[in-house]
């Protein structure tokens, strides 16, 4: 049996219907355990105090913001090459979830930044590239919303996603260049990964797992909705013709 059989809407609805409750429950458990463990049962950082605990929201959401776009890229490619409708609809379903993750990452970052750097926003390369990612998500969703024919919309958004990925990546590195040029010696960096100690690391891992599962659950749910919308549209079209 090939994996592509799951790309059939009927098959996908059956499988995802069974998977969805399990994924949802698992994600809920991971989030609750990870966040509570992280918030209440880890010591304060010697430099950052209790503010460091926002890391349990910030890092997982930032991770999923990028992975959401990656997932859209892969599903768009599958749609363009093999024309599986579920793949295109999964890309469409992932966009708002990815956008929300980007917003969470930006907002938690700003809240964290205020006590740490004394400012909500700095044009640090990482922050800026997330802002750019946010704009790409917006454009992608706007194109989906603007085109009426769903297959054409899937085609065009897939092409936009491919070209957008190249330019998002390019922007990511261009921003590095630009920032060094303007703010010589600015040492704001979010790269705390090296100095995250084990006490922080394990709850973080659980929280990340929770976010991954949450993302998966939301995308599955939204894809199911999109499939139902398409089916309703197809039924209405058939009704009208006969």
């Amino acid at each position: 049996m090939s994996i592509w059989e799951y790309a059939n809407p009927t098959r996908f609805m059956q499988t995802s219907g069974k998977l969805l409750p399990a994924v949802s429950v698992l994600s809920f458990v991971c989030l609750v355990v990870g966040l509570i463990w992280g918030f209440f049962f880890t010591p304060d950082d010697y430099r950052q105090g209790s503010t460091v605990k926002i890391i349990y929201l910030h890092v997982p959401s930032a991770l999923m913001a990028i992975n959401g776009w990656l997932m859209m890229l892969v599903t768009s490619l599958i749609w363009l090459v093999r024309r599986h409708h579920v793949s295109a609809l999964a890309a469409k379903a992932a966009a708002p979830v990815g956008l929300t993750m980007t917003i969470i990452a930006l907002v938690t970052g700003a809240i964290w930044g205020q006590p740490m750097w004394g400012t909500y926003w700095a044009w640090d390369p990482r922050l800026t590239s997330f802002l750019i990612l946010f704009l790409f998500y917006l454009g992608y969703m706007a194109l989906w919303a603007a085109i009426e024919n769903p297959d054409t919309a899937a085609d065009l958004t897939a092409v936009l996603c491919l070209v957008g990925s190249v330019f998002a990546l390019l922007s990511r590195y261009a921003v590095n260049f630009w920032n060094q040029g303007l703010h010589q010696g600015a040492s704001l960096s979010l790269d705390k990964e090296e100095n995250v100690a084990d006490v922080f690391f394990f709850p973080l891992l659980v929280a990340i797992a929770g976010f991954v599962l949450l993302f998966l659950a939301l995308v599955l749910l939204r894809t199911r909705t999109e499939i139902r919308i398409r089916r309703a549209g197809a039924l209405i079209a058939r009704e009208r013709l006969s």
């Binding site: 454009g139 092409v159 390019l170």
Partner: protein, 218 residues
């Protein structure tokens, strides 16, 4: 192939708004800035590279929805798609004529507007060079955006939303080259990056634009 370019240029001149509009917009934008930030030449000369590049970028946006929209509405695009000229070539030529009617005039006008913003004279050469190298990429990206939205009734605003994030790297390297030039630093690296983006766009985007056009005509 030359026929399509010649026709587009002829149309741009005769229909009005082709050459003039983007340039006039650029001028107004640059004139407005001192009213917003004050007439101090110190501040103006420091932000001049950014203003000129952002202005050029916005002026490029103005005429994007005309690239394919008129041809789509009167049926020319259907006929072009059945013609022996591949759509990839048509998209490239459309981008070229867009550049000739907006990017090139902007490049020529920019040094004069730089004077209004009291941009240091050492930066002028870098400004012209960076615009000459960078604006073709803007036209090609704009053509891609126009190809994506050609089937839409009111695609103008959407094109801006789609294309502006794609303009980001070009803007960064372009403005960077000029501001380094203004500070008397070597700006060749930024210019090389800019050239790489333009070359990459020329290699990649005609195919993406033509694919989007075919999807829209289907």
């Amino acid at each position: 192939m030359i026929a399509l370019l010649r026709r587009d240029l002829k149309l741009a001149i005769r229909a009005g708004g082709g050459f003039g509009l983007g340039l006039a917009f650029f001028l107004i934008l640059v004139v407005l800035v001192p009213f917003g930030v004050g007439p101090e030449s110190g501040i103006l000369s420091r932000i001049a590279p950014g203003i000129l590049w952002v202005g050029a970028l916005l002026s490029c946006l103005l005429s994007l929805d005309r690239i394919f929209q008129l041809d789509y509405e009167d049926g020319t695009l259907d006929l072009l798609a059945t013609a022996p000229l591949p759509l990839e070539a048509a998209a490239t030529l459309k981008a070229l004529s867009h550049w000739l009617t907006t990017g090139l005039p902007l490049t020529i006008a920019a040094p004069f507007l730089g004077v209004l913003l009291s941009m240091p004279s050492e930066a002028t050469l870098w400004l012209v060079a960076s615009l000459a190298i960078g604006t073709p990429a803007l036209s090609m990206l704009g053509t891609f955006g126009a190809a994506l939205t050609v089937g839409l009734k009111r695609g103008g605003l959407l094109v801006s939303l789609l294309v502006l994030p794609l303009y980001m790297p070009t803007l960064i390297f372009g403005a960077e080259a000029v501001s380094r030039g203004a500070q008397g630093l070597p700006a060749t690296t930024a210019l090389l990056f800019l050239a790489a983006i333009t070359a990459g766009c020329a290699a990649l985007l005609p195919f993406a634009s033509a694919a989007a056009l075919r999807m829209n005509l289907r």
